[in-house]
């Protein structure tokens, strides 16, 4: 690839110099019929390139896409995305055709005359009203889904988990038996109390601090986010979930995992993607990759922003119960 790169650069520089020397000889600078004819054809050629590339990317890069939503709430996101994507796809292909085909078709010629056509209220009404109607549908569905995802008010059964960010790591705190998180503030950070939990708060006693997320399948998870230093963003792409972590305030997001990690690994899109990745890794002599859910930082936060991640494992309820029981409570870990 690198050799190709140097060849590309060489060719580009060569062409530049060759062309620049020609500037000294060429004097005519306004397009004539000959230019119009040529450039019109290039417009068609370019259109062919554009279509080839658009279609190639749509097909060849399909395998790169995120697999279907791993959260129940995200299903409608996928739906809405597909609707929007088809819609803009059709408009894109149509409009690009018109733009470059017209450029070719109506390329200038001395013998031609342009049509004097200054206005048509009918046409303008059509292309004002059509987008408006389509938008009503998109906005309607979008807002319904937005409220659906963001509404965390009525979730008595949800598991409350705090996700805590700092340069450059993630930690998490489970709310424990009472499902209530103890108060946290940076002023309480001391020694192994790295999340700044107020241990005099009775809700803190049964909280459990962990470095990896375990989530039970089919239970609503109610995340609360805090940040210790700068803005971070907790991005969980497989669950169609993201929320900024803001120093000085608590932000929230929620979703219900739909597939366990194990189930997701069997899913055909994931199998295909994993196979592709492992082909590449094998060539480079690296260990094979196995699918895992991830939480990534998605707000610029400093030098190691590019390596701030936490593994998420989704398991069946029984396994989750077993795992959570094994985690020590804060009251046993932090002695004042």
């Amino acid at each position: 690839m690198l050799a190709l790169f140097y060849i590309f650069i060489g060719v580009a520089i060569g062409v530049s110099f060759w062309q620049i020397t020609r500037i000294l000889n060429l004097r005519e600078s306004v397009a004539n019929d000959n230019d119009n004819a040529k450039q019109g054809k290039y417009a068609l050629l370019f259109m062919a390139f554009l279509y080839a590339m658009m279609i190639y990317c749509l097909i060849a890069m399909n395998v790169l896409m995120l697999p279907e939503s791993a959260s129940i709430e995200g299903e409608h996101d996928d739906n809405l995305f597909n609707i929007t994507f088809w819609l803009i796809g059709v408009v894109q292909f149509g409009m690009q055709f018109l733009i470059f085909y017209f450029t070719f078709k109506y390329r200038g010629n001395k013998n031609n005359k342009a049509k004097f056509y200054a206005d048509s209220h009918k046409l303008e009404a059509i292309w004002t009203i059509t987008p408006a109607v389509v938008l009503v549908v998109l906005i309607g569905y979008g807002l319904w889904q937005w409220n659906n995802v963001m509404d965390l008010s009525d979730e008595k059964d949800a598991i409350v988990i705090e996700v805590y960010s700092q340069q450059f790591r993630w930690d998490a705190r489970y709310a424990g038996k009472d499902n209530m998180l103890g108060y946290g503030n940076v002023n309480f950070i001391k020694g192994i109390n790295t999340m700044g939990v107020d241990m005099s708060d009775k809700n803190s006693q049964d909280d459990k601090q962990v470095t990896e997320l375990y989530l039970p399948k089919g239970r609503k998870i109610h995340f609360k986010f805090r940040s210790q230093d700068v803005l971070h963003s907790a991005y969980m792409p497989h669950f169609r979930a993201q929320m900024n972590c803001v120093p000085g305030m608590v932000t929230e997001f929620g979703f219900t995992p739909k597939y366990t990690t194990e189930e997701m690994r069997q899913q055909s899109e994931v199998v295909d993607k994993t196979r592709e990745i492992n082909k590449i890794r094998k060539e480079k002599g690296e260990d094979p990759y196995e699918f895992d859910y991830l939480l990534l930082c998605n707000k610029i936060c400093g030098a190691s922003h590019y390596n701030m991640q936490m593994k998420i494992t989704v398991v069946e309820q029984e396994e989750y119960d077993k795992w959570i029981a094994e985690q020590p409570t804060l009251s046993t870990v932090i002695t004042q």
């Binding site: 390139f49 995120l66 894109q92 049509k115 803005l231």
Partner: protein, 593 residues
């Protein structure tokens, strides 16, 4: 008025000039200089993204102590993307674009002797120059320039402990931007006053070319929103230097709790995007105005739906000031606000669609003169559509959750405001170069420049949508720590190849531009057979633009190919030729268009 024609020295003519034509050229050349820096930076960080572990001599040569053995450090990577964004958005596409063409065209197309205040105009340029100098100086600060992203969200931008670029580099960034804002405001006020007061006889608002409408409305958005960015920057300076807590609260960093209490970064985001979003239109509207003018002239057809075009400009401008929250759907603000911003944001699609359709209709049944300026304008329509459509995905809050801050966003805004606006700027330069320098730019080089640039622009940004949809966050120094992104490494290489070739191809433009100033073909008075007033001035620049009386306007600017019988395409041209300049009175019995 002969006492006004005092002798000009070199200094008053070329340096501290108060003539709008010279000031426009000053803006342009400074903008091009800054653009070269920012473009070069993008090529450096594209190298890093394509070959993260590879050593490059060019990186060793340019990045000094910010690299190890030809591999850039993560800090300087963030600094490069930050400064690339800052320079491109503000110095090239705001000052370079608006500064150049508003200055050149507002007086010339309206029939004015000069701007309302030549002195303020001069101050506006020199403040811009000063801010450019400070921004360039900031690149050489030891700890590196500002590197918290061009959006400079605190606390990252406020705390040198968080990232080294937030020390002296950030201070210089803020000072430079404060001066820049002053320059923009002075310029914008001048444009507004000139448009309202100095139109020549007969130049009603409804007869103004769409370029002027675009510049006028752009200036108004600037006046409304830039002061807010200035306040945001000032409060950030206070937090950084004087210990206030506007944006900061509850921070523990480098082993200690900082004293800040009660502030919120979300406040900064609101203030920043209150400018930041309108800024997109400050960049884009002038480019659209330029395109309207060039497409109509070169299609030899009236722009389709003049009134609808004006109304869309105004609608876009109005809506642009009430949509800033769509950058903040997941910032932690109240979800209800998110709903409101989704609604207003998607409304912008309507006037934008009207504009795109009207451009295409203008091309329909035209007699297209495919000059380089025309090709760049057509290219703008293409990238504006491509980039605009993905706005429907990003503006929908529910969908934004999952693609926010991924490469999908990078692809979207580069196409819709970056590439489109730069195409508009190129179109304007090729089209009005004869007005600036009395010569024409070489068309063959122009053609090469256009086709290489548009192929590379799509080659860079179309695949980028897909790596964004794969969930790849932007501003990652390398993706090698995530095996799940291993399969996009090859795409990054292809993108970089296109970026490098596209970047180098800009040499074609630079050479064409600077050589044509001295050696280009001498221009006739009206090389494009255009209707607007700037082509009635002499080729040689004179103070006051027109010798003798100012021109008088009798018609709108788009009477191209007007027929004796407007409804009969086979009838003769009304005035014997396919264009009727604005200065020609209506014939007896002629209906105004």
């Amino acid at each position: 008025m002969s006492e006004h024609h005092h002798k000009e020295t070199f200094v008053t003519k070329y340096i501290f000039s108060q003539d709008h034509k010279m000031i426009s050229k000053q803006f342009l050349v400074t903008g091009i200089f800054m653009g070269v820096i920012a473009l070069f930076m993008s090529m450096l960080f594209r190298l890093q993204l394509a070959w993260p572990e590879k050593s490059f001599t060019i990186i060793e040569a340019f990045l000094g102590n910010h690299q190890t053995d030809g591999i850039m450090n993560p800090d300087i990577y963030l600094a490069l993307v930050t400064i690339h964004g800052t320079i491109m958005v503000f110095f090239v596409l705001t000052a370079g674009l608006s500064g150049t063409f508003s200055n050149l065209l507002i007086p010339l197309q309206l029939g004015a002797r000069d701007m309302a205040s030549g002195f303020l105009n001069m101050i506006s340029y020199w403040l811009f120059f000063l801010s450019s100098v400070i921004m360039v100086i900031s690149l050489f600060v030891e700890a590196g320039p500002a590197s918290a992203g061009w959006t400079i969200y605190p606390p990252l931008s406020a705390l040198p402990q968080a990232i080294p670029g937030s020390g002296a580099g950030m201070t210089l960034w803020l000072v430079s931007m404060a001066i820049f804002i002053a320059s923009s405001l002075i310029g914008a006020l001048n444009y507004i006053v000139t448009v309202l007061n100095l139109r020549t006889k007969g130049m009603k608002m409804t007869r103004m070319p769409l370029t002027i409408w675009a510049f006028f409305v752009t200036a108004m958005i600037g006046v409304v929103s830039f002061p807010v960015l200035l306040s945001a920057a000032l409060l950030l300076i206070f937090d950084r230097s004087f210990g206030t807590s506007f944006y900061l609260s509850d921070i523990f960093i480098s082993g200690e709790v900082l004293h800040y209490q009660g502030g919120s970064p979300v406040l900064f985001e609101h203030l920043f995007w209150f400018l930041g979003h309108p800024e997109v239109y400050i960049v884009l509207l002038p480019a659209l105005g330029i395109t309207s003018e060039i497409i109509s002239t070169n299609a030899r057809k009236p722009i389709f739906g003049y009134r609808a075009m004006v109304m869309s400009i105004i609608a876009i401008a109005f809506l642009s000031t009430i949509v800033w929250g769509h950058h903040m759907f997941i910032s932690g603000m109240n979800p209800f606000l998110g709903s409101v911003f989704t609604f207003t944001t998607l409304l912008i699609a309507i006037p934008s669609a009207v504009k795109a359709f009207n451009y295409v209709t203008t091309l329909w049944k035209g007699n297209l003169q495919l000059n380089p300026a025309m090709l760049f304008s057509i290219g703008l329509v293409s990238t504006f559509v491509t980039g605009g459509l993905t706005g429907l995905v990003l503006g929908d809050s529910a969908l934004d959750i999952n693609i926010h801050d991924t490469y999908f966003v990078v692809a979207h805004f580069h196409l819709v405001m970056g590439v489109s606006a730069i195409f508009g700027m190129y179109a304007g330069i090729y089209h009005w170069f004869p007005k600036m320098y009395g010569r024409l730019m070489n068309k063959t080089l122009g053609y090469w420049h256009f086709w290489i640039t548009i192929v590379c622009a799509y080659g860079v940004f179309w695949p980028m949508h897909f790596i964004g949809l794969a969930g790849l966050p932007r501003r990652y120094y390398t993706n090698t720590n995530f095996p799940m992104f291993d399969d996009i490494a090859d795409i990054n290489v292809v993108i970089t190849l296109f970026a490098i070739v596209g970047g180098i191809a800009q040499i074609l433009f630079l050479a064409n531009f600077f050589i044509s100033i001295y050696r280009g073909e001498k221009s006739s008075q009206n090389p494009w057979n255009s209707n607007t007033l700037e082509w009635t001035t002499p080729v040689e620049h004179i103070h006051g633009n027109w010798p003798g009386k100012l021109p008088e306007v009798h018609r709108w600017p788009y009477d191209y190919s007007k027929r004796v019988d407007p409804n009969d395409d086979d009838s003769e041209y009304l005035h014997g030729k396919d264009f009727v300049p604005q200065t020609i009175p209506l014939l007896e019995g002629e209906e105004p268009s």
